[in-house]
Each structure stands twice: as C-alpha cells, then as structure tokens.
Symmetry: C2
Subunit: 198 residues, 2 copies
C-alpha cells in the first residue's frame, strides 16, 4: 500500500519512518494522557518533528486520534455517510452500516484489534476521551438524535455486546443470523435507546 498523503507532494522532509514515528508517539500519548490531555505539540516533541508536520500528515487532533486507531477505514466518514438521516429508522441504518463494515474480511482484523485495545487496561480513557467524543457522538448526530453523548453510550452497550458475541466469541446463534435477522432483533432495541426516555 502506498501513502496517498505523500503522493505527488514531496515538499516535506517526511518519510514513512517519520509518519510511523508520529503515529507511535500519538498512540503512546493518547494511552498515557488520554485524548483531552494530549496535544499535537507534545506528540510532535515525542516524535522529534515540527508540529506543522503532524498537521500536514494527519490534520486535526481528532484525525490523529482516528489514525492512531489504525483502522483500514475512517469510521467517521464511512459510517456517518451511511447512517445520516432522520431518527426514524436510525437503528436499522446504524446496524446495516456497522455489520457491513464488520462482515468485510479485509477490515475485520483491524476492528477486532481496536475492540481488544478498548478492553485492555487503559482502554477506558481511550473510550471515554477518544472513541466516544470523536467517533460515537458525531455518529449520533448523523443519526439525528438528541443528547447523542448519552444515547450513544446506551447504543454502544448493545452494539459492543453484539460485536463481541458475533465476532469475538463466535456465539453460534449470533454467527448464524444474517443481517436481516439481526436487524429484526436489534434495530428495535437501538431505536429504544435512540428515542426512548433518558
């Protein structure tokens, strides 16, 4: 795979090694200091590069955080594009988008690695200060719900359990159910979380 960021520019002194060093520094900072406690400047210092180079390669701190998750897709664009719409039918749109990504064998290993990282010691800061505000809350807004921060925590409590049963422990029933069957069972649950009393 080639880096689309560097193609045809060549102005910066960066190299694949520089990019990797920034990512490694970002992962270490996010893990140790959380999302809120991490600055682009500090990551640049750890990697021994100019902060402008971090911005050049990765954009904003949100973008750097998503890059540090090392996912083959950016969940903000891939999911948000598919789920944007009115709150009616939001649960079904979210489930179909999520299962589409997770059922893709080229993407699944990276997603599993991300889930495992969330569950490791220190993963709680990664979830609360990174994954929730950077990925889940914007997704809730795309789904058209009020109070997305609260509602997306309820949604996550069902989605993470479903993903763990289907893709991590391979529970027979959850593996055997196709997307339509999963939507029939889980979309009403998610709609309840997305629109019910809080």
């Amino acid at each position: 795979m080639t880096s689309s960021v560097r193609g045809g520019r060549g102005r910066r002194p960066g190299s694949p090694d520089t990019r990797a060093a920034i990512l490694a520094a970002a992962r270490a900072r996010f893990a140790a200091a959380g999302f809120a406690g991490t600055t682009i400047r500090a990551v640049a210092g750890d990697a021994g590069v100019d902060p402008a180079l971090v911005h050049h390669y990765f954009g904003s701190k949100d973008d750097l955080f998503v890059a540090a998750l090392e996912l083959p897709v950016d969940p903000r664009s891939v999911l948000a594009e598919q789920v944007v719409g009115p709150v009616e039918g939001a649960g079904e749109r979210l489930l179909r988008a999520l299962l589409g990504v997770w059922d893709d064998p080229s993407v699944q290993p990276a997603l599993l690695a991300m889930v495992r990282r969330l569950l490791e010691p220190g993963g709680d800061a990664l979830f609360r200060e990174g994954f929730l505000p950077v990925v889940l809350v914007p997704l809730g807004s795309a789904l058209g719900v009020d109070a997305p921060e609260r509602r997306m925590q309820l949604v996550a409590s069902q989605v993470i359990g479903l993903l763990v049963l289907r893709y991590v422990v391979h529970a027979e029933l959850l593996v055997a159910m196709d997307v339509d069957a999963l939507v029939a069972v889980y979309a009403p649950v998610l709609d309840g979380f997305l629109t019910g009393p809080l």
Copy 2:
C-alpha cells in the same frame, strides 16, 4: 486463605499444590481442547494424579470448569437462586442479581479477569463450549424461558455490552446510573430477548 475442601478430612494425599496443579491442568485442557474435548481422566493425567482425586476435590466436569474460572462465587448457585421464578419479570430479576454481584468490590476483579479471558484468543471455545452450556443455559432454565440456549445468547449480547461499558471502559452514563435506572432501561430489552419471537 485455607482450603475448606481439605478441612478435617486428611485422608487423601492431596495438598494445596496438588489442587493447584489440577486446576492449572484443567485450565490448559479447557483452553486447548474446549469443554467437550476435555475429560477428567486427561486432566488427571496432565496433573499426575488419580482421576478419583480430581472428582474428590472438584466434583463433576461442570464443577471443575467453574472452579477453573477462579470466581470467588459459583455463578450457578449464586445467580440461579436469585433469578429462579416465572418468565414474567425475568429480565429484572436477572439484572438485579448480576449487578449485585458485579457491584461487590470483593468479587469484581475476578469477574473482570473472567470477561477478559473470554475475549482473549481461545476465549471463544471457553464461551461456546463452557460458559454457555455450564452457566448461561441453566440460568435461562432458572429464569423460566423456553429455548434457553438461543435466548441466553441474545441476553449475553446485551449483558456483556452493559458490563463492558459499566465496569471495563467506565462509560460515564453507565457508571452514574444506579441499579433502578439500569433496570428501567435494560429489563425491557432482556424481557424482549427472553420472551420475544426467535
């Protein structure tokens, strides 16, 4: 801590080391061969003891499996006693029993270790061939439901997500909700899984 099993008997050549060796052998066998592929005889062979000694210390293969989970309580007795009853109200009884155990700080670390083990490589066999038939299905029967094996997989998909959000990643909302609030949100979901169409 003293071993209650050995108190006052002293007939067997067992020692705390023997007991630990049997448990270590059992964990390795269950992890490598799954629950169905593990026999008391094979565990005894690995530990270098007579199979009768394994039965003496741990009872049946189900009992040995639960012992190998190293929980401070036996989930079969503690949970089943509290949840047994008619299918009406089953979701609430299950949630109150589960949260009571998980909110107990003396028990929680061992439960967290068990959840982490389920999510590690090899944890899928532990779940499918051990935890599901030995712990979850009997719990479903105690809850008075039909098709407990299928329904308890749906229940697990919500309960595991809730436990991960509240006790592993410490999602703010799920940590702040008290038991009554959690019951109000999640008991209807569990009741839907326990009694809805399959």
